[in-house]
């Protein structure tokens, strides 16, 4: 536990140092990159330099930077001039929401299918599932999203093209998760708004989920096949346990354990895919925000966006590692299974 806390804190420190050094690495003025404020004259400039401790050694600057980060003063965006903290607070939940639903679909669909394929390994059903998963695993996500848009939005018209919820519904921003916000909102037809939001969610979630599901199926299948070959399964069989008893008591538990750390590795792929899909569906998430920022060379936004996204991912990864270690202490610390 202590080990994980120190690891977590140290990693966050490294990331903060990285984002601090980005202010120096990015082209342009360090002061502007760090604060997002363009000074109008020399007096304001020297005042800002004093305020941000830029005339002092790097260590002091970094300490001040950390203090600013903790107190929530993250600087301002070049383009919109708004505080970055508010912008991230709007954009990040949207991405987390999208990825969470995709992951949920991947687990709900992927694990049972993978178990089925693993139990019936080398049968026709297994080959069919395997072929399907390797096909969908190979789709480049941006192309898949484009095909979905072409087929479902433009040809069939079953799903809307972009955005999170129709502009007809005035949903106030509370938690940042659109479905929750709708449930909390007053003065609108909640049921209509809810179905509308679900329609908006459909295509982006599906295009991310398809790839994650395929990965999930492959991981589960491999893991189940590995467990099936273990001697304790033979022992259970010879004790006369029924098929279902063996499956639920012995196979499922042992097969799901090595999958957990691999899920942590899937998170980075998931977030990357979500970021790409967001730009195609104009989803107001952090990926779309970051890519707009790079097009407009909004360096303060890039610095904070990088820190925010990687902190979220690191937090998730370390939590999953920790949970994994708690339920299975026999595992070696950073052991990872293969696909």
């Amino acid at each position: 536990m202590i080990r994980y806390t120190t690891l977590f804190v140290l990693t966050l420190l490294v990331l903060a140092a990285l984002s601090f050094s980005l202010a120096y690495l990015f082209p342009g003025d360090v002061l502007v990159n760090l604060t997002g404020i363009t000074p109008q004259n020399d007096i304001q400039r020297s005042a800002l330099i004093q305020q941000y401790r830029l005339d002092q050694p790097y260590i002091v600057q970094f300490a001040f930077y950390l203090q600013q980060l903790v107190t929530g003063n993250w600087g301002y965006s070049f383009i919109s001039g708004l505080p970055l903290r508010n912008e991230v607070a709007i954009a990040l939940p949207a991405t987390i929401e999208l990825s969470a639903y995709a992951m949920l679909i991947a687990v709900i669909v992927g694990v049972p299918l993978g178990c089925y394929a693993g139990l019936r390994s080398y049968s026709t059903a297994d080959y069919a599932i395997n072929t399907g998963s390797i096909l969908s695993y190979s789709f480049p996500v941006f192309w898949l999203a484009l095909v979905f848009i072409l087929v479902f939005s433009l040809e069939l018209g079953v799903a809307p093209l972009s955005g999170r919820v129709s502009l007809l519904f005035d949903v106030p921003h509370r938690t940042g998760f659109v479905l929750l916000d709708i449930l909390l909102a007053d003065g609108i037809n909640r049921k209509l708004a809810f179905t509308d939001a679900l329609h908006h969610l459909l295509l982006p979630t599906l295009s991310i989920a398809l790839i994650s599901t395929a990965a999930m199926i492959r991981l589960t299948r491999r893991s189940v096949i590995d467990v099936l070959n273990r001697p304790y399964i033979t022992a259970a069989r010879s004790r006369g346990l029924s098929k279902w008893q063996i499956f639920f008591r012995h196979i499922l538990r042992n097969a799901l354990l090595p999958i957990l750390p691999l899920m942590a590795m899937q998170i980075t792929t998931l977030i990357t895919n979500a970021m790409i899909v967001e730009t195609l569906f104009s989803w107001p998430g952090i990926g779309n925000w970051l890519i707009q920022a790079i097009y407009q060379r909004d360096y303060p936004a890039l610095r904070i966006g990088m820190l925010a996204v990687s902190s979220v991912v690191i937090t998730l990864t370390i939590t999953i590692d920790l949970i994994n270690r708690l339920i299975d202490p026999s595992r070696e610390k950073f052991e990872r299974a293969t696909v």
Binding site: L15, P140, I314
Partner: protein
């Protein structure tokens, strides 16, 4: 009957030949290898295969449909784009840019990864733990984010996006090499070599590396499919290869402007990326199961 079975044949297949035999028994993997070979041929001999110059514009032939369409002509096999450039030539050259740069960057990532991973694997104690934790931190940063930051520092371009993806892929190689080397170091044949007085270099080159190559090939195919997808994704987002350069993702992004009028400009480059990635994945899968079968014998 004797309880032991001697190998009766004169000819004893080497491990590689055994793997190849297992690999051949899977039809899917073999077809995948064939398709991958086709794409590699395209990449190598692009100037010979492509009928036109990939960036030559032809105002007399704008948006001609593919040849299987009623309005298509056989002189433009996959049709032309909104500037009258021959799509087939562009895709062939696109294979060269996308697949070629992916191969190159995977090789670079593999070399660096193996070097650092071996050093980390042979180290013990605190230093090894620090390397490990730093790697975990690096692995957790999404590829696209690394790419965005590198593009912000260095500017857009194919080479810069290659650096970004190399940086994102290296930790995986380090991780696998490190755990492999650590496991091998505990085995008895290493101990035997050590007792013979082999130093670290000799241990690595004569004992560990030959055993590691298969693992590296499998990891390399995995990394290659990721690299192709990432390179084209960056090209698509206009952060990697810049438009006149025929890169599959950039071609796709170009075709997006006329997606409704000329959907083949979006469909065919995407299909090419899909087929490249699919064939790499199928070959990688076949290789992995061939190795597994060989080792379980």
């Amino acid at each position: 009957m004797p309880q032991f079975s001697l190998y009766e044949e004169e000819f004893q297949p080497s491990p590689w030949q055994q793997t190849w035999r297992e690999f051949r028994t899977s039809h899917a993997a073999f077809i995948g290898l064939f398709i991958l070979g086709l794409f590699v041929c395209f990449a190598l001999f692009a100037p010979l295969v492509a009928p036109y110059d990939p960036i030559a514009q032809n105002i007399d032939a704008l948006m001609i449909p593919p040849s299987w369409n009623m309005n298509g002509t056989i002189s433009h096999l996959f049709g032309t784009d909104s500037l009258g450039r021959d799509l087939f030539s562009r895709i062939v050259y696109g294979c060269r840019v996308t697949l070629g740069s992916s191969l190159l960057l995977v090789l670079v990532a593999l070399m660096t990864g193996v070097t650092i991973g071996t050093i980390a694997g042979m180290l013990r104690g605190v230093r090894s733990s620090i390397v490990n934790h730093l790697l975990d931190a690096l692995m957790a940063i999404p590829t696209l984010l690394i790419a965005i930051i590198i593009v912000a520092i260095l500017g857009t371009g194919l080479v810069n996006s290659m650096w970004a993806i190399t940086l994102a892929l290296t930790p995986q190689f380090i991780h696998h090499t490190r755990s492999f080397v650590r496991n091998e170091m505990k085995k008895e044949y290493i101990l035997a070599s050590k007792l013979d007085g082999a130093n670290h270099w000799q241990l690595f080159f004569h004992s560990i590396l030959p055993n590691m190559i298969e693992m590296l090939v499998v990891q390399g195919t995995l990394a290659l499919s990721i690299a192709v997808i990432d390179i084209s994704a960056l090209g698509f987002l206009n952060l990697g290869a810049q438009p006149p350069l025929p890169e599959l993702g950039a071609i796709l992004a170009d075709g997006l402007d006329v997606a409704y009028l000329a959907p083949w400009n979006v469909a065919l480059p995407g299909l090419a990326i899909f087929l490249i990635v699919l064939s790499i994945n199928v070959v990688g899968d076949g290789l992995r199961s061939a190795l597994r079968k060989r080792l379980s014998r």
